[in-house]
């Protein structure tokens, strides 16, 4: 047989897995020449599980990239049991990625939603685009370690400002006066943010999540409805959407 070149299927190698917080891990993966931009994701094969698990990339370096993941069910349990040097089969890069523009940007993350936002922030820094990163967590045990975040909120006040990250957005917008907002987090948080920014007419991009099977737009499993009446796939048309195009229900 002739040698095949699969552009989007890769066998990486675990460089290291480190605990980031309660139920939260960083996994650094070696994958030669693998390239990906902020907001895009990879889909990881987890043992015998039927569906690959999608994860945003949080950081990329020469020949390695890092994911921040939260243990939830079988798939993330599998990944959390990987050891250094274990092989890891992943596909990607998938999705559209954030539109990076030379605009003063407010970055908002809730929980593990920090992952793609943090990668975006790095890219903004490289390009000297002014930005501020605010992130909310349940409590201090949920804050991934070693991150450089401008403002942290915790629901229980055990670290940083007390309350949900949503609560301080209005204030931050007034203080920082961003031209653009990027956000990632639970659906309810994104909905809330979009309602605010739509009113304030600030351009907003959000990273969406939905169960996926194919990651490339063919199975139509990850479809969401847009305001224009069309369906969009989170995997291919997204995961990054404009804040004002999504139909929330």
């Amino acid at each position: 047989m002739s040698v095949k070149i699969f552009r989007k299927i890769h066998t990486g190698k675990v460089v290291e897995l480190t605990q980031a917080a309660d139920n939260l891990f960083y996994i650094k993966i070696y994958a030669k020449n693998f390239e990906i931009v902020p907001g895009q994701f990879v889909s990881i094969l987890c043992g015998d599980l039927t569906l690959r698990r999608p994860f945003s990339v949080m950081d990329i370096d020469k020949n390695t990239f890092t994911i921040l993941f939260k243990t939830k069910g079988e798939g993330t349990r599998y990944i959390s049991n990987l050891k250094s040097d274990d092989k890891i089969n992943f596909t990607g890069p998938f999705g559209n990625g954030f539109n990076i523009e030379n605009k003063k940007s407010l970055l908002i993350a809730a929980g593990v939603g920090i992952a793609p936002i943090y990668f975006l922030r790095k890219e903004l820094q490289i390009r000297f685009i002014e930005n501020k990163l605010i992130a909310g967590f349940l409590n201090k045990f949920c804050i991934p370690k070693n991150l450089d975040i401008d403002l942290i909120t915790t629901d229980d006040g055990s670290f940083g400002k007390k309350g949900s990250v949503i609560d301080c957005i209005s204030e931050e917008i007034i203080k920082f006066n961003p031209q653009k907002i990027y956000a990632c987090g639970p659906l309810i948080v994104l909905k809330n943010i979009c309602e605010k920014t739509l009113n304030l007419k600030i351009e907003t991009e959000i990273a969406m999540e939905k169960e996926m099977a194919c990651s490339i737009g063919v199975c139509r499993g990850c479809v969401i409805e847009l305001k224009n009446g069309k369906n969009a796939t989170v995997c291919k048309d997204g995961p990054i959407f404009k804040g004002d195009e999504i139909k929330w229900n």
């Binding site: 047989m1 095949k4 552009r7 099977a213």
Partner: protein, 314 residues
């Protein structure tokens, strides 16, 4: 890169010519070249395009897929662009890229199926697969493929209209799939394909703050979990029909492929496994090709004869 010509995986099922006996199943492979990133699509036997209806369809809202133990449930609801856009936008790509394809069609009434068949005929579509797992809105939403009389009717009328290769895809959700398969054969189908997904329901639950939160999905089960059900269905079909069979249901590796050939399939389709291992159609073809060469067979046809012989004697 194309498969080594010497490997000789070419297969003929009635008038349907395939480069390899491994076909990509409808709904799991897109419409044309979407898997280009993973494999050389020409190395599949053919691709079966996602179900096409007369009019474009939005599909179901809400949760559309759920993983279950060794399988998945889907409830896509036939979202598709409709036959007209398919003909104008997709078919040219398929022709240009020389992709061998089979068009999976679906309707809510007999008339819709017939109109689709007519359009396919007029547009020289080489092969169609009748997706009979769709509810017939005229008979209280009973699936077309579950009543042998109405299935017979539908296939016979389609046969009159469509001169290309006519594949009838059966649902496993019936008391006797053999009877249904016979009806399809008698009505003039060239090939039977089976199985479509198994009727199923998935629930995820989560208890918090004194309240149960349930996510549920009603749909079709596919993947490894259904392989034993598919094998049984195909052996039942084989028992009572003579036309070629395309087997599917949970195939995810080379051994699975051989099992389906052994019980009577002449080619297979791979669905869910494309999601797990997007190179799987080509991987199995590669392994098959190597196996044929390593073990001194001349062709897949010869290997198939040997598999059947050993199976029937064992």
């Amino acid at each position: 890169m194309e498969l080594d010509a010497k490997s000789n995986l070419k297969t003929k099922l009635n008038r349907l010519e395939l480069n390899t006996p491994i076909i990509a199943a409808s709904g799991t492979f897109g419409y044309a070249n979407e898997f280009d990133d993973f494999i050389n699509i020409k190395n599949t036997g053919a691709i079966v395009t996602k179900a096409i209806t007369l009019q474009p369809r939005r599909g179901n809202i809400g949760k559309r897929i759920m993983e279950t133990t060794s399988g998945m449930i889907n409830s896509i609801g036939l979202e598709n662009m409709g036959i007209q856009e398919f003909l104008s936008k997709i078919v040219p790509i398929l022709h240009n890229e020389k992709i061998n394809f089979i068009v999976n069609i679906a309707g809510s009434t007999t008339e819709e199926y017939l109109q689709l068949a007519q359009i396919c005929e007029e547009n020289n579509i080489p092969a169609i697969e009748l997706n009979l797992s769709c509810p017939n809105v005229k008979t209280g939403c009973i699936e077309f493929g579950t009543k042998k009389s109405s299935l017979y009717e539908l296939v016979r009328e389609t046969r009159k209209i469509f001169s290309g290769v006519l594949i009838t895809k059966l649902t496993p959700n019936v008391t006797s799939i053999g009877e249904i398969a016979q009806a399809a054969q008698n009505a003039g189908a060239d090939i039977i394909s089976a199985i479509n997904t198994v009727r199923a329901m998935g629930i995820k639950l989560n208890f918090s703050e004194g309240k149960f939160n349930f996510t549920k999905i009603n749909g079709g089960l596919s993947g490894k979990a259904i392989k034993p059900i598919a094998l049984k269905a195909i052996s039942q079909i084989k028992e009572v029909t003579e036309i070629p069979i395309i087997g599917m249901g949970g195939i995810s590796n080379f051994n699975d492929f051989i099992e389906f050939i052994a019980i009577g399939a002449d080619a297979v389709q791979i669905g869910t496994a494309n999601f797990t291992i997007p190179t799987i159609c080509e991987d199995i073809a590669d392994e098959l090709s190597k196996f044929i060469k390593t073990n001194g067979f001349k062709s897949f046809e010869e290997l198939k004869a040997k598999i059947r012989e050993d199976f029937n004697n064992g």
